[in-house]
Symmetry: C2
């Protein structure tokens, strides 16, 4: 094997069902041709290096990754990686291979990891979601409509009692779910343990008053020991959910959290803060679709996927493809609930359900707490928008007899 040779390209290769398959978008750097760029990518991510080495063997050459399909015009290629290259239960190692050094290679002008297909042993050794869409619906006793929630706002800064009170207002207004924001964890003005106790007390009160199940998702994001301690604390105090910033905590901690959670059995809500530093780039990066598949394997029962209509990027095509991936059959894994969150408001609900279907979780922060009459009416308006949508009644028509929704539409319009 002389460096990144043509051995790494073999269009006659038929991938085994045990291979990891990636789809990549590649542009070679100036004066590099497309096939050379592909050889570099498949070589560097498996058994190759830039020059011929004396230490290789025939046996090792057979372990090479194979580019088994490419389309030069579109700049696309598919690469198969033999299972023997990986530890099935080690996502960091897998990503260090298939998505490691290759992004840094001088021979490339562009490299996007568009998609990954994981074989059975990678999926099974992790296990995927514990609850999935059906399990979450069962807990909430909501069968046929989108779940609807809010993020406590301001993002950060409320004291514990204020936080719990805002949650109570939102729940009694009609929301199913309350979550912390991604940057709230265990700050002095609102300590984690106090917050869990106070907010779950308000949840119990709201459940009694409304006769509905209510969910509080406390953000456990921290170093792994602290995260597990916080998850255990939630469990001990009667919580059913944790929320974690999956990108900033990283793969290694998520694997551990998933294993620990097999004992705790909490629903895992995955926030994706920082994803766009990797997923949004047009030149070098990893698609949200790829990350979504990994987070599903790593146990995300619920995952933020984009809103199409809100304040965050993510178009219809991307978001719906991620949704599909979260629900597709993959070695018996449960389905991950897609979460739409970021710049949403009651008037956006109908369009979102049209695009994304009813198996979604709709979260609005500003779009609830920014209601002209505050959180309680904001929550009512959001729930009314969901009701109208499920009844097939246009929002503006429904608003005629629902003043909270009318006020929300007056302020923010419809999407």
């Amino acid at each position: 094997m002389t460096g990144y040779t043509s051995n790494f390209i073999d269009r006659s290769y038929k991938p085994s069902k045990n291979d990891i398959i990636t789809t990549v978008e590649v542009s070679p750097a100036k004066n590099v041709d497309f096939k050379t760029a592909l050889q570099n990518v498949a070589g560097e991510s498996s058994v190759g290096t830039w020059t011929k080495v004396k230490t290789t063997t025939k046996r090792i050459e057979k372990m090479a990754a194979k580019v088994f399909w490419y389309d030069k015009k579109k700049g696309l290629a598919k690469i198969a990686y033999p299972n023997i290259l990986f530890e099935a239960d080690n996502i960091p190692q897998i990503m260090s291979s298939i998505a490691g050094n290759i992004f840094g290679m001088k021979t490339l002008k562009k490299l996007i990891l568009l998609d990954i297909d994981f074989p059975k042993n990678v999926v099974k050794s992790h296990g995927g979601p514990l609850f999935g869409i059906r399990g979450v619906r069962k807990i909430l006793k909501v069968k046929n409509r989108p779940l609807v929630g809010s993020i406590i706002k301001p993002k950060i800064g409320l004291r514990t009692k204020q936080h719990a009170k805002v949650a109570y207002d939102a729940w009694t207004g009609g929301l199913d779910i309350i979550k912390d924001d991604e940057n709230l964890s265990d700050q002095k003005f609102n300590p984690f343990k106090d917050r869990v106790i106070e907010t779950l007390a308000m949840r119990d009160k709201a459940e009694q008053e409304t006769g509905e199940k209510k969910v509080y998702m406390a953000n456990i994001t921290a170093n792994i020991d602290e995260m597990i301690e916080r998850a255990e604390f939630i469990k001990k105090n009667g919580g059913r959910y944790f929320m974690v910033d999956v990108v900033t905590v990283g793969f290694s901690a998520l694997e551990e959290l998933q294993q620990e959670n097999k004992k705790l059995k909490l629903v895992a809500h995955a926030h994706r803060a920082m994803h766009a530093a990797t997923t949004r780039s047009k030149d070098f990066g990893i698609s949200m679709l790829s990350l979504a598949k990994i987070y599903r394997i790593l146990g995300a029962d619920q995952l933020h996927v984009g809103t199409v209509v809100g304040k965050m990027e993510g178009g219809k095509k991307e978001v719906t493809s991620i949704e599909r991936a979260l629900r597709e059959n993959s070695h018996g894994m449960k389905k991950t609930f897609p979460v739409a969150s970021g710049g949403l408001y009651p008037g956006a609900v109908q369009k979102m359900v049209k695009i994304m279907g009813k198996d979604i979780i709709i979260q609005a922060g500003g779009g609830v707490h920014g209601h002209p009459n505050g959180t309680f009416e904001g929550a009512k308006a959001l729930r009314q928008a969901v009701e109208a949508t499920m009844k097939g009644i246009p929002l503006k028509k429904y608003a005629k007899k629902h003043s909270e929704l009318a006020k929300a539409i007056k302020k923010w319009g419809t999407a």
Copy 2:
């Protein structure tokens, strides 16, 4: 506070020494002006959201991040975040704030997190490197020249005995350091524990024969429990180092590993596989400089920083600025040893030392094992290149009396 208001911009604000300061490069999306984009970034990453909310208070408004400097023409800005927003010992939470949702905002066409300055409490609650450049030099008893090492090649696939033998050849040829490649961890053909035992046995043999200290850096990349077990195994078997793929394991596990390692006291070698999926993009991403500062705080004694001349991207300006950051005085932290690795060869040494100085670790994989006469002579050639450089003798001149170096130069030339 009405959404992302102008409250988030205050050029008269004087940052406190306890603030976290970021430097960002920003381009607004179409029809968005520069100041609005800045308000969005500072707001979304602290206490703001897209619409005015009823739940905010005067006290919380004071917790807002402040854009205290900007240059519209250059598209640059500096933002100060009050310390109260953060848990000092929680890098995931800090990154979810200052580098979280903001990359996804529709109002932006470009956002690069160029630099971060961390205050004392963030540094102190982690601690930085245990050994640093001086500690590593003390272990190796090498005072005045670059350290020189090799990555075992092929990247992956050698059986344990072969792996240990290649390491032995490289050490006895004159190298200080042998490391696993980033995608080698605990695969069946070369199990981690066997590899550590066999390779450390060869290290002992090489130390005896050469009279020099030799280092083996075994890759412990995995889920956090497994990583700690592997680090403990290294310690128990007389190893002094571990290597970890810092990007793919993630911040939460690194914080835990750092704490555990305060007991084990191993030298931490940080490989950065996958960094370029975030650091190389021209539109949305986080600079390697920012990540390097974080990995130093998280305990990296040695960190891959780029080579300028090798197979990986990373120009002179970027690499030297990262080097400076790893060595600058920051609340008493030890200095991180910059590692140049990726596509290097003996003929590149002189230029690299000219650019990067002698306080670097030079690693060559293919550039050692690809030597026409194999690993042993390849290692000799690389060490000879370092000797020539330290004596101030041009490589080609030195090669006249050093046939191994001559052959390497004949094959790969000089940089």
